[in-house]
Amino acid sequence: MTTIIDRLRAAAETYTDSVQTPPVETIYARAERSTPRRPAPKTRRLRRGLIVGVLALAVTVPAAAAAGLRLPFDPLAGLNPDSKAGPATSPLPRIPAGSQQVKGGYITLTVVPGTHAGRSCSSLAMHDGTSSSVVATVVNCGGGEHTANVSAIMGVSLIYANDPGARRIRVVYPGGSFDASLIADYYLSKQLPPGPATITTINAAGDDIATHHLTIPER
């Protein structure tokens, strides 16, 4: 008779056999990008407090706006391309807003081959909260794809794509609408390496709505 532990061992072995070890360069690239040491406990506590504070603000600001209260500042300054109160100096190219409200479509980001190699993309995507999940697809240089469903949290989702050959990231929204420019701005400001990049917004029918060729400056 097979015991529960034998079954667990067999299942774990099956899983272990199925794991594909990524090239060790993935780790080296990650080490290059990350901070050299784990911060001191006090710093971690402060950072944690800051994150909780920002999240609390993210909840209260829309609630206050919904209740009709006017805030003395624009909470989306720097994210919203329509905002007149944007950052004083923004060296990054901006995607014009307006025609990029998409329903149930997806956005594709193409990076010139090679510039993204060895990077682990960890990114934020935004949507209006009507969709419970988004799907991130990373297309590697060889044409293979790695897809992962990601749970959405308050319209903000973390997407991880540990693919050293990644050259294109496609964020698919099964439902709901989103402003592609917000996503594009985030990628531009946080993720993409310096150099040429193309951002294409595609609707649910697969038609290109807008394509922007940009050069990401050195930061």
Binding site: A31, V52, S120
Partner: protein, 164 residues
């Protein structure tokens, strides 16, 4: 002198890469069992390897060190997610997100909390002693014993799936 330093660095890289290749699948199995989410697990495992690589020269037992780092990273990730969800209360916790993870493996561990999952995998899948599991979980061996006992009761209560 420079050559000696380069050779030593190359040897360290080679040793690290050997450990990486040999242990990655096992570390992923441990991380996936803990987080029940492949993306979170990959992140925790990769971060642990980054730390291992940085501190390679000062680490005596890389595999034991990695186990502890992976479990610690996974528990950190789950704590962060749990705090975030407590504030937002809009989305299911990451534990309920199965994605494309190995169903059979994770279903068998369903019903256990994260510390029970870690203890069960380390003790029964990787044959670590209770003392070694206690080191990873940063608790006393007696606590591991009671954790395992409770976990086994839950596992035995899980309805068996017909293999045929």
């Amino acid at each position: 002198m420079v050559n000696g330093s380069t050779e030593s660095s190359n040897a360290a890289d080679a040793a690290f890469e050997e450990v990486y290749r040999r242990t990655y699948p096992q570390m992923m199995a441990l991380a996936v069992a803990t987080t029940r989410n492949r993306s979170l697990a990959e992140d925790a495992v990769h971060d642990a390897y980054v730390s291992l690589w940085r501190d390679w020269r000062s680490i005596q037992n890389p595999i034991a060190w990695m186990r502890r780092a992976v479990v610690s990273n996974c528990l950190d990730v789950l704590r962060t997610a749990s705090r975030r969800n407590a504030i937002l209360r809009r989305q299911p916790p990451p534990g309920d997100v199965f994605n494309d993870e190995p169903e059979e493996y994770l279903q068998m561990l369903a019903g256990l909390n994260e510390r029970q999952r870690v203890a069960v995998v380390l003790r029964y899948v990787y044959d670590l002693s209770e003392a070694e599991v206690a080191q990873v979980l940063d608790c006393r061996p007696g606590t591991v014993k009671s954790t395992l006992s409770r976990a086994l009761k839950i596992l035995r209560g899980t309805p068996k799936r017909d293999a045929s």
